[in-house]
């Protein structure tokens, strides 16, 4: 039973970290252009030369 005193806070903290990460990702505009992100890996950087 004493394990619960560690495990529950850890579970909650992990959940909160996930939630915070999602909020951060949304605020920093990572969901603004899902199609673009998928396509950008296909751009050849060498072309810039």
């Amino acid at each position: 039973m004493s394990g619960l005193t560690f495990l529950i806070p850890i579970a909650l903290a992990m959940g909160l970290i996930g939630l915070a990460a999602f909020f951060w990702a949304m605020r920093s505009g990572q969901y603004e252009d899902m199609d673009g992100a998928a396509n950008r890996i296909l751009i050849d950087e060498e072309d810039e030369l």
Partner: protein, 705 residues
């Protein structure tokens, strides 16, 4: 580029300008724009958003929007500045996504605690877990429930009920009861049920909102070019830009080539051609000279014009038609969506049942605490979890399937109305036909074709563009023509190996369009036709098979319409004004019919807004696309028929989903009234019914085939 050597010492103010460029399709386009645009003088950086088909350009304040559009054209992309008011749709989706994330977090953690309570944790552990659940659930519900509470409050204040009223009451009561149980060290808390309910419902709402904002982004990318400002000539001879709203009659506008008019006016100086496609969907440019009227929303194709403003802002022809459309669209906004119709029946029934359960148990002598617990259990178990998902899940899946086939549906309500149509009215030009001139290339030799391509590809004239597209589709390569010059209104000329070549305008009569190709002393005429869309007859057959009557109503000449109607075997009426179209639709509606209007031109705008449901082709004028429920992209007409078929199947699935939800209630409610529902049973029943409804809706992924 003459940027070298111009090193201004003063710091420049950088501004961001969003541009819409519908032509952005792939990684190559992103790379090209982000690489080439910063090479333009004054542009610092460019960032492409592929989903929204937008480019955010960071540049010096001196660089104007017109320059940026010109720069984009230089690298091969049609672009327009973003009209204001198109960017606010995302906010709602974001709020819902945040609430969904919070509800998901709460649901997972509370479930973790609940599962151990269900599997037998007792005494102090259970009480601690209830307290922990309460600590997590109360803020989560307060945050994630806001969209529902707000909407329920708004609807109650207006004296109506919607789905959010029973949801809000159920969630609030469940939370209060669970808090009471926790405070009194009781055995049963429903925090898990309440949070799970919110999670599932938010998932439905977020899907619905995401569908709307994605379609709006796509349609926003199609919308274009309405002049938002004009260069106005001052009495002292200088010119500066004035926003469209501030233009007044009597001002003199300077109109550069490629610029859209921001107000109605009369040409004072200069000759040129005006592209009316934005207003009418017509492809042929109209020649204008001094004294000719020109209208807001049209584009000056050729040399500079000076236009004396006759009507501006809200008085332009464009604004009048927009107003007519607004009024015509009022009846549509009164349409009650199926979810709200169902909840109108559902909420009173559920609330009566809960009240009866409470009264029954009180009479049976169960004591007010137990009676209240049972009444709240009835509310929780009947809370429209599956109902909240029944409609959006099906509509989102169907809209996604239609989107892949080239039909963008604006919102779920549009699908509901599309499923009810029983008569389809088609405009002719641009709807049944392609609305763009296609050249007849069969008479040309290969050499003539390559010369024609070399000449046509430099011009922005609609006939030249049609010719270029036709020739490129045949795989023709341009001939090495040199010294190409374009004389607005007469044609393009150049020389090929010393021999003069030209593409000349030919005076034509009626609706025939043609141009002449000159090779040395040889003349040949290229005829253009506005052809029927390739699958018109299949589409009409599909409509007939669905029991939908088809008609043509067009503003075109009676004879032209009659000829096409006879060819397609459906009734047709020609020479109809926008007002007459509107009256015809109102007449059909008073007969109790549900007309579907398919049209593209501005003259169809009011009819599109007034019809029970409406679809506009992607080539339609801006206003028509805005008025229509759905926009069909591409050359084919079949998506229109597919849309109706898919809408009917969607509503079939929605009804099935409601059936499932009712069936679930028939099983669960007696249990709840008997007082047999524990939090475990409530959780299982709610998630099972939601998953079944989602699974049933996914069958629509193939609806558009």
């Amino acid at each position: 580029m003459n940027a070298i050597g111009r090193l201004d010492a003063e710091p420049k103010a950088l501004v961001d300008t969003p541009l819409i460029a519908p032509g952005i399709r792939c990684a190559g386009c992103i790379g090209k724009i982000e690489r080439e645009l910063p090479k333009v003088k004054g542009v610092t950086s460019a960032r492409v958003n592929l989903s929204a088909k937008r480019v955010l350009v960071r540049h010096d304040a001196q660089v104007s929007e017109v320059d940026l559009v010109e720069a984009m054209r230089g690298i091969g992309f049609e672009a327009q500045p973003v009209a204001s008011g198109l960017t606010s749709d995302d906010a709602e989706t974001k709020t819902l996504l945040r609430a969904l994330a919070v509800a998901g977090f709460g649901m997972m953690n509370i479930m973790l605690l609940s599962v151990s309570v269900w599997s037998g944790a007792g005494g102090a552990t259970r009480e601690m877990f209830h307290w922990l659940s309460a600590v997590i659930a109360v803020p989560v519900i307060a945050y994630a429930g806001r969209p529902f509470f707000r909407s329920a409050a708004r609807s109650l204040r207006a004296g109506r009920t919607n789905m959010d009223v029973p949801i809000s009451i159920g969630v609030t009561l469940a939370t209060c009861l669970s808090l009471y149980e926790t405070l009194t060290w009781g055995t049963e808390a429903y925090f898990d049920g309440a949070v799970m309910l919110l999670f599932f419902l938010l998932a439905g709402r977020a899907l619905d909102a995401a569908m709307r904002s994605r379609t709006r982004a796509e349609i926003g990318a199609l919308l274009s070019r309405m002049g938002r400002s004009a260069s106005v000539l001052q009495p002292d001879g200088s010119a500066h830009r004035v926003a469209a709203e501030q233009i007044e009659p009597g001002m003199l506008m300077l109109l550069a080539a490629g610029e859209a008019l921001a107000a109605d006016g009369v040409v004072e100086l200069g000759k040129g051609a005006i592209d009316n496609a934005m207003l009418t969907g017509e492809s042929a440019p109209e020649r204008v000279g001094p004294g000719d009227p020109v209208y807001a929303g049209t584009i000056n194709l050729t040399g500079p014009l000076q236009v004396r403003v006759t009507a501006a802002a809200g008085d332009t022809t464009l604004a009048h038609i927009a107003q007519l459309m607004d009024e015509a669209g009022l009846s549509r906004s009164r349409y009650v969506r199926i979810a709200d119709r169902v909840s109108g029946l559902y909420a009173p029934v559920v609330h009566t049942m809960a009240a009866l359960a409470f009264a029954g148990w009180m009479l049976a002598g169960a004591g007010w605490h137990q009676s209240l617990v049972i009444a709240i259990a009835v509310l929780i178990i009947t809370c429209p979890c599956a109902m909240g998902l029944a409609v959006p899940a099906a509509q989102v899946v169907a809209a996604g399937a239609l989107g892949k086939r080239g039909l963008l549906v604006k919102d779920g309500g549009a699908l509901e109305r599309l499923s009810e149509v029983d008569i389809a009215l088609f405009d002719k030009t641009g709807t049944l036909t392609l609305g763009e001139p296609r050249p007849d290339l069969s008479t040309l030799t290969n050499e003539e074709k390559s010369v024609a391509l070399a000449l046509a590809q430099v011009s922005r004239h609609p006939l030249s563009r049609g010719l270029t597209a036709g020739l490129l589709a045949e795989g023709v390569m341009p001939a090495p023509v040199t010294g190409i010059t374009e004389v607005p209104g007469s044609g393009v000329s150049g020389s090929l190996g010393g021999e003069p070549v030209a593409l000349e305008a030919v005076p034509t009569s009626g609706s025939r369009l043609a141009c002449a190709l000159v090779l040395g002393d040889k003349h040949c005429t290229i005829e253009f036709r506005d052809e029927l869309r390739p699958d018109v007859s299949e589409t009409l057959t599909a409509f007939t098979a669905m029991g939908i009557e088809c008609r043509i109503i067009s503003g075109d000449r009676m004879e032209a319409v009659a000829a096409m109607a006879a060819r397609l075997g459906i009734p047709g009426t020609g020479g109809i004004s926008p007002e007459a179209k509107l009256a015809m639709l109102e007449g059909l509606k008073t007969e109790g019919r549900h007309p579907l209007m398919v049209g593209d031109g501005l003259n169809d705008g009011p009819a599109l807004a007034a019809a029970h449901a409406s679809i506009a082709p992607g080539s339609a004028s801006d206003l028509s696309q805005q008025a229509a429920d759905a926009v069909s992209v591409g050359e084919r007409l079949m998506p229109v028929a597919l849309a109706v078929r898919a809408a009917r199947r969607t509503m079939g699935i929605v009804r099935q989903n409601f059936g499932i939800a009712v069936l679930y209630n028939l099983c669960a409610v007696p249990l709840a009234i008997m007082g047999e529902v524990t939090p475990l049973i409530a959780a299982i029943a709610m998630s099972a019914s939601s998953l079944i409804v989602i699974g049933n809706s996914l069958r629509l992924a193939r609806a558009a085939r």
